[in-house]
């Protein structure tokens, strides 16, 4: 056996001693875990530029002495909170971008109120996003704006880009964005038109409750939560593991309700009729054909994404009309693509290098 192999394999006595120490630490830290508050996330300094119902537009305070000319607007998915892109210092995409010299804005969402149950794609694509882009232009004094859309934020950004083809969009970046909804096989099963009465659901509940959204995500990997809790207990001795677990768990459980009419449209137009992929999507009577998109586009997808399978995201780059287009497939899952240790090593540097060349 080589020296390195001997080092890697401690003796049985050492192993037992280590496990006893960890068991003691687990008991002590287990009590701390239940007694302590959840971690504070999304702490990068920012100003609320504009707020309207469910829509919030933030501007992050620059961290560099010199910034790129073109501001960057992050469009968050409507199902989750934007702090996944700004977890804690050192693990924040927003902080990373600010340090690399980007001027960062975020279009984030809060829970739609009961009176916002009537919000539709028209509101998100023809009103909220253009309104935020106008405000970013005013605030930055620049006419060009780059947009980054995460998951369904990417879908909304694609719809915007395909309608406002002569607009101020300079670059479009999509993170794990589905366009072929037939390939989202489990969600297809959940929303099978033969059995799923979306009209009855929306007419009954108004806004679709967050529990339903959370449960549908959890059902994609039903064993992962109980196994994750076992792993948490096993790793209770490790402050780093516990911190990371709590951050991601808090975010995952912080699911937002969806506006009823928006959910109805998503189900009918995208899940049932696959209009985005078929090129037949319209928003407010305006054609939203993504082949009309000509701006430079980067699509980052995750190899092991269980929410947006690669097959559902794959056709995006082939379909858009841009000549400057690139897809990067990175190791990781739907969330670890954008946040956590994997993202720091893989996605963030790629995003920085791609965007910096196109932001002057």
């Amino acid at each position: 056996m080589s020296i390195s192999a001997q080092k890697a394999a401690p003796s049985a006595a050492d192993r037992i001693q280590l496990e006893v120490q960890r068991a003691i630490q687990r008991s002590i830290k287990g009590v701390e875990y239940f007694a302590s508050a959840a971690p504070v996330l999304g702490t990068t300094e920012k100003d609320l530029l504009h707020s309207r119902g469910t829509m919030k537009l933030y501007h992050y305070r620059p961290l560099a002495d010199e910034i790129y000319r073109v501001p960057l607007l992050l469009v968050m998915a409507t199902t989750n909170r934007g702090y996944i892109l700004d977890m804690v210092p050192g693990q924040s995409l927003v902080e990373f971008l600010l340090q690399r010299g980007f001027d960062v804005y975020m279009l984030d969402w809060t829970a739609p109120r009961p009176e916002e149950r009537g919000l539709k794609f028209e509101d998100y694509v023809l009103d909220f996003i253009p309104d935020c882009i106008r405000r970013v232009q005013q605030d930055s004094g620049e006419s060009d704006v780059s947009v980054v859309g995460y998951c369904f934020g990417g879908v909304l950004s694609l719809l915007y880009a395909s309608i406002f083809t002569d607009g101020p969009l300079k670059n479009l970046i999509c993170f794990t964005t589905p366009i072929d909804f037939r390939r989202m096989t489990l969600f297809q099963s959940f929303s099978d038109r033969r059995y799923f009465d979306v009209d009855k659901l929306v007419d009954s509940v108004g806004n679709v409750p967050p529990e339903l959204i959370f449960q549908s995500f959890e059902m994609l990997r039903p064993a992962s939560r109980p196994i994750g809790q076992i792993q948490l207990w096993e790793n209770m001795w490790s402050d780093e593991f516990v911190k990371s677990y709590r951050m991601f768990d808090r975010w995952a459980q912080d699911t937002l309700p969806l506006a009823g009419e928006y959910f109805r449209q998503t189900t009918k137009d995208l899940m049932w009729d696959n209009k985005l992929y078929e090129g037949t999507m319209t928003v407010g009577g305006r054609r939203a054909d993504i082949s009309r998109i000509k701006v430079p586009i980067l699509h980052a997808v995750a190899e092991h994404d269980h929410i947006v399978p690669y097959d559902a995201a794959k056709p995006l780059i082939a379909t858009v009309g841009s000549t400057d287009k690139e897809e990067v497939i990175l190791k990781g899952g739907h969330v670890s693509l954008v946040a956590g240790a994997n993202a720091i090593k893989r996605l963030w540097p790629k995003l920085d290098s791609w965007l910096s060349e196109r932001s002057t």
Binding site: E19, Y68, S189, F190, K200
Partner: protein, 144 residues
């Protein structure tokens, strides 16, 4: 020796070393990982069936129906008690939302006017922002 042979030899050596020092904790972790994958895979197969979809949506529909029936009867009860119902609160919320939107527009306008005033020659300067002159690093990796 090729890289592949070297790699095979290393892998075989590692396996042998692992066998000699079978670590029950490591085995437990592997078992958990395998179990998670298998259970998820089996569940996903089951969930792709039409039968699952039918059952799941029957339950969701029944739950939504019950919620609506309960809401309707509650509304009648609240009306009888001369108390405001949820839908009336929602209507109030809609009106508040309109007022909030208007207020935000006024605030935004005021901020712009304020910024214009501050940008005058005699006014103190607003918080400075970094210049938008940054260039991408050169190919050699030097920042410019």
């Amino acid at each position: 020796m090729t890289d592949k042979n070297e790699a095979d030899k290393n892998a075989a050596g590692k396996k042998a070393a692992d066998k000699k020092t079978a670590d029950p904790v490591q085995m437990w972790h592997s078992f958990l990982g395998d179990m998670e994958k298998q259970f998820n895979s089996m569940s996903n197969q089951a969930m792709e069936s039409a039968e699952f979809s039918r059952l799941m949506n029957q339950m969701t529909g029944a739950s939504a129906g019950a919620k609506k029936a309960f809401g309707d009867s509650m509304e009648k009860y609240l009306a009888a008690m001369n108390l405001p119902s949820r839908s009336e609160f929602t209507e109030l919320g809609e009106r508040l939302l309109t007022i909030e939107t208007r207020l935000n527009e006024i605030m935004s306008l005021l901020r712009r006017v304020h910024a214009d005033v501050l940008s005058g020659d005699n006014a103190p300067s607003a918080a400075p922002r970094p210049p938008r002159t940054k260039r991408p690093p050169s190919k050699s990796g030097d920042a410019t």
